[in-house]
Each structure stands twice: as structure tokens, then as C-alpha cells.
């Protein structure tokens, strides 16, 4: 066989190998979904959703975990959204090219790479102990807000960067101040990108388990929280708890809860993608 024939065969072999590699990830995903759905789907009924957790697998439900998740979600958005967008606006519109802004950028890159469990440790000491919020929803939300802040800041910056300079010039030319330009021209145009980033960040937050475990979110919560200072649990922690129990019934419960969690996660990601596509079409510059 000639050299070039060997090369052609190698090329083809690689092509097949690469398609195989690509498939591995997708196959694992499909198998995972199959395993989870086949084990857990039948367990999902109205009892499962409205029951409190209990010692008996068949009587256990995810009610408190769902409530906790909603509380955490809302509070985290309320805290992280203004701070994240605010920081993003500052870095893109106000602070360009000064040492301070540069330093913050480097800092944010670092924070994005810190393991989530470390945020839990920070939250435990700072919010739980030092500020005295204990293992409450407030501590959990503050902790998760810090965790997803870098994500929101980065996506806000990207969205703002995409707004063409010509629009800003038009606004300044009419005598608008910097903030007027940001509020009336830049933010409305960047809105889609900012929203997408927020939803993706929050979708990540609701899947987080480790930081909440460290701040002391309870594993067994037989009551519904009524204030941000109440103790709480969330779906991922409930899943973790059930997975570690030996009785078969709890594994089924875990699978069922996973289906609910994945539904939320995929729904949020899907909405984010739809928003991203719609806004990309709308504001074609």
C-alpha cells in the first residue's frame, strides 16, 4: 500500500473514531435519562409532590424540597441580579481601561473557577455564623448569589458589548448623560443577552448541592418554610439524602425527584435558548 493510501485509511479511521467519541457523551446522557425515567417515572404522582419527607419511602414526598427550591430561587434572583448586572454595567460602560477595573476582571475570572463547596464554607462562616443568619434560606440564597455572580457579570458584559457603538453615539450626540444612555439605549438592547445569562445562572444554582449542605441546609425538613430565616431543604439535597439510604424504595424516590429536578433544569435552559434566539433575531444590527 502506498503512503497516501495508508494516510487515507488513517483519516477515515479517525473519522469513525471521532464520531464514536461524540456519541459517547450523548449515549451516556441517553442512558442516564433512561435509567432515571424507568426507575422513577411511575413513582411520580400527586402524593409524591405534596407529601413531606418521611421515614417510610412510600410515604415520602418532595413538598418541602420544592418549596425550599422556590424560596431559594426567588431570593437568589433578587440578590444576584441587580448586583451582577450592576457590576457588569460598571465594568463595560464606566470602568474601562483603568487599573481598578482590570483588577476586578482578573478577580472575577478567579472566582468563576473556585469550587462551589468553597462558597459554602464562606457562606457558613460569613452569613451563617458572623451575621447570624444560621442555616436559613437567607444564608443559602446569599451563598448561591455569590456563587453565580461571576456568571451573571460575564454574560451581562457580553450582552452590553454587543450593542453597537453607533447607538451610544447617537444618544450622546443628543446630550444624554452616561446613565441615560445606559438605561435608555444600551440596556434595552442588551436585555435578551442579560436575561439569557441570568436564567442559565439560576438554572445552575438550583442544581447546586454541596454549598447548601455545608451551610447547614437540613436533610430532613418536615415543615414548610414561611420566612427567609427558616431552615430549609432543596431538591438536590433531598435526592442526595435518598440516594444514600439503603432501602430500595428510597432509590426510586431519588429517581423520581431527579426527573422533577431535570425537568426544571432543562426547561430553564430551554427558555434561555429561546430568549437568546428571539433577541438575536429582533435586534439584527
Amino acid at each position: 500500500m502506498s503512503r497516501s493510501q495508508i494516510n487515507k485509511i488513517k483519516n477515515l479511521a479517525f473519522k469513525f473514531f471521532a464520531i464514536g467519541c461524540t456519541s459517547v457523551g450523548l449515549i451516556v446522557l441517553l442512558v442516564l435519562l433512561y435509567v432515571v425515567i424507568s426507575q422513577g417515572f411511575s413513582r411520580i404522582d400527586s402524593d409524591f409532590i405534596t407529601n413531606l419527607p418521611s421515614r417510610m419511602a412510600s410515604k415520602s414526598g418532595i413538598y418541602t424540597a420544592l418549596l425550599g427550591m422556590v424560596w431559594i430561587l426567588i431570593l437568589t434572583v433578587c440578590i444576584s441580579f441587580p448586583v451582577g448586572v450592576g457590576a457588569g454595567i460598571y465594568l463595560e460602560e464606566y470602568g474601562k481601561k483603568n487599573r481598578f477595573a482590570n483588577f476586578i476582571e482578573v478577580n472575577i475570572s478567579n472566582l468563576a473557577g473556585v469550587p462551589s463547596i468553597i462558597y459554602g464554607i464562606l457562606g457558613l462562616e460569613l452569613f451563617g455564623r458572623f451575621l447570624g443568619f444560621g442555616n436559613s434560606i437567607l444564608t443559602g440564597s446569599l451563598t448561591l448569589s455569590l456563587l453565580i455572580l461571576p456568571l451573571i457579570i460575564v454574560s451581562t458584559r457580553e450582552a452590553i458589548k454587543a450593542v453597537p457603538k453607533s447607538l451610544r453615539e447617537a444618544s450622546y450626540g443628543l446630550g444624554a448623560t452616561k446613565w441615560q444612555t445606559v438605561w435608555n439605549v444600551v440596556l434595552p438592547s442588551a436585555f435578551g443577552g442579560i436575561m439569557t445569562g441570568l436564567i442559565l445562572a439560576v438554572s445552575r444554582a438550583i442544581g447546586e448541592t454541596a454549598p447548601l449542605i455545608v451551610i447547614g441546609a437540613l436533610v430532613y425538613v418536615p415543615f414548610a418554610p414561611t420566612s427567609p430565616l427558616d431552615e430549609f431543604t432543596v431538591l438536590p439535597i433531598q435526592i442526595f439524602n435518598w440516594v444514600t439510604r439503603p432501602q430500595a424504595g428510597f432509590v426510586t424516590n431519588a429517581a423520581a425527584a431527579i426527573i422533577i429536578l431535570l425537568t426544571f433544569t432543562f426547561m430553564m435552559n430551554g427558555i434561555a435558548v429561546i430568549i437568546r434566539n428571539r433577541f438575536n433575531k429582533k435586534t439584527k444590527f
Partner: protein
């Protein structure tokens, strides 16, 4: 007193000496054309008058720029307030991705004007002045981006006029437009002369000849000649001007 005046203006972009000792006096209610080859500094100089060059990093300006006798760079003026007195129209139409109505009233809104009757009246007046009213009056809520290029540019002109500035600066306003839109805008400029002082940067010498009273020829950052348009184009003083106008370079 000149409406717009420059004395010994020098501007540097970092290392590059973009404007060299420019001095000029422009009278009220005239149309002045800045002509010259690409990169000669005419747009840069135009943007000095409303301090748009402040938006670029690394820019150093010296000399005096005066509007109605007030020094724009030295005296304690509020830049934003100053810009409200000067309208600017850019080369590529840049309407906001909002409705036609919202675009026109933008300048008024950021000034705190809320009265709907006032805003409506201002919209109608500005769009009529920009010769766009008849074409859009039936649907002012339509997105500005749905208009054609020529219409968008006239919208930008209307937007600039809504705040009733006394000076309008135009940076190659018709260069991105088709001939019909261009001629509409040229007619417009001619009509506006009675109310505004207009400075227009243009690449198109025939355009300068058509619409301006006086013309300034720039080359490599220097003001070579400034004269009545008629004189510039038939009997210029400087040889360089003659060469540019007859197409020997550019």
C-alpha cells in the same frame, strides 16, 4: 461674532497629529461644507464642536473652539447640556431600535419632558421639517428599523431637530444612501438653512457645490483653504485645492 469658531486647534490621537493648527469662523444660518480626501481630519474636526471626541481614549486637544463666543473646552460647561444645543447626524443612519415616535422624542424625554401634547406636537413638527411626516404619519409606533436607509437617515435628522438645536453637524449624511434619498436630504439641508447653522462633511464634491455657501478644504490634518463655494470651485486660491477639485488626487 461667528456662530462657530476655531482658533489654532491641534488634536492628537496618541502619537498621530490629526489636526494641525486649524482656525476657522463660520457664520450663522449658513451651510458650510468640509471637503477633503479620506483621513484628512474633517470628521475629527467636526466632532470637536460637540465634544464627541471625548468619547475616544487617548485624545489630546489644544486651542480654542467657540460656539456663540463661548469656549467649548475651556469654560466650565456641562458637556451633556452643550451637546443638546448641537444636533449631530452620522454617516450610517443609527436610529434606536425603538418606534419612530420614541426615536424622535428621545432627546426631549431625557430632558424630562413628559407632556404628551408637547411631545406629539414636537414629533409632527420635526418629522415635517425632515420631510418624513407624510411617509410615516399613519404608524408612528412602527419600529424605526423597518424604514428604508434613506428614511432612517431622515428620521435621525428629525430626531436631532426635535430638541431645537441651533447648529446641526452632519458627518457624510448621505454617503450610505441611494441617489434619490440623497437628493431628498440635500433639498432638506437647503431648506433648513434659514433656521439652523449647518456644517456638513462630505466626500462628494458635487454635493458640496450644490448645497453649501462656503467650503473648507482639508488635507492631511491642515485647513488648506476656506472660501465661498462658488469661488472654491471656479477659482480657488491654492494649487492644492485646484488639484483636489479637478480630481488630480483624492
Amino acid at each position: 461674532m461667528y456662530k462657530l469658531e476655531a482658533r489654532n486647534v491641534n488634536l492628537n490621537y496618541g502619537e498621530k497629529h490629526a489636526l494641525k493648527n486649524i482656525s476657522i469662523g463660520i457664520e450663522s444660518n449658513t451651510v458650510t461644507a468640509f471637503i477633503g480626501p479620506s483621513g484628512c481630519g474633517k470628521s475629527t474636526f467636526l466632532r470637536c464642536f460637540n465634544r464627541m471626541n471625548d468619547l475616544i481614549d487617548n485624545v489630546k486637544i489644544s486651542g480654542d473652539i467657540l460656539i456663540d463666543g463661548r469656549n467649548v473646552y475651556k469654560s466650565k460647561i456641562d458637556v451633556d447640556e452643550h451637546r443638546k444645543k448641537i444636533g449631530m447626524v452620522f454617516q450610517k443612519p443609527n436610529p434606536f431600535p425603538k418606534s419612530i415616535y420614541e426615536n424622535v422624542i428621545y432627546g426631549l424625554r431625557i430632558n424630562g419632558v413628559r407632556d404628551k401634547a408637547l411631545l406629539d406636537e414636537s414629533v409632527e413638527r420635526s418629522l415635517k421639517q425632515a420631510a418624513l411626516w407624510e411617509e410615516v404619519k399613519d404608524d408612528l409606533k412602527k419600529s424605526a428599523l423597518s424604514l428604508s436607509g434613506g428614511q432612517q437617515q431622515r428620521l435621525c435628522i428629525a430626531r436631532a431637530m426635535a430638541v431645537e438645536p441651533s447648529v446641526i453637524l452632519m458627518d457624510e449624511p448621505a454617503s450610505a444612501l441611494d441617489p434619490i434619498s440623497t437628493s431628498k436630504i440635500e433639498d432638506l439641508i437647503y431648506e433648513l438653512k434659514s433656521k439652523y447653522t449647518i456644517v456638513i462633511v462630505t466626500h462628494n464634491m458635487q454635493q458640496a457645490a450644490r448645497i453649501s455657501d462656503k467650503t473648507a478644504f482639508f488635507y492631511l490634518g491642515e485647513l488648506i483653504e476656506y472660501n465661498q463655494t462658488v469661488t472654491m470651485f471656479t477659482n480657488p486660491d491654492k494649487e492644492q485645492t485646484q488639484n483636489y477639485i479637478t480630481g488630480r488626487f483624492g
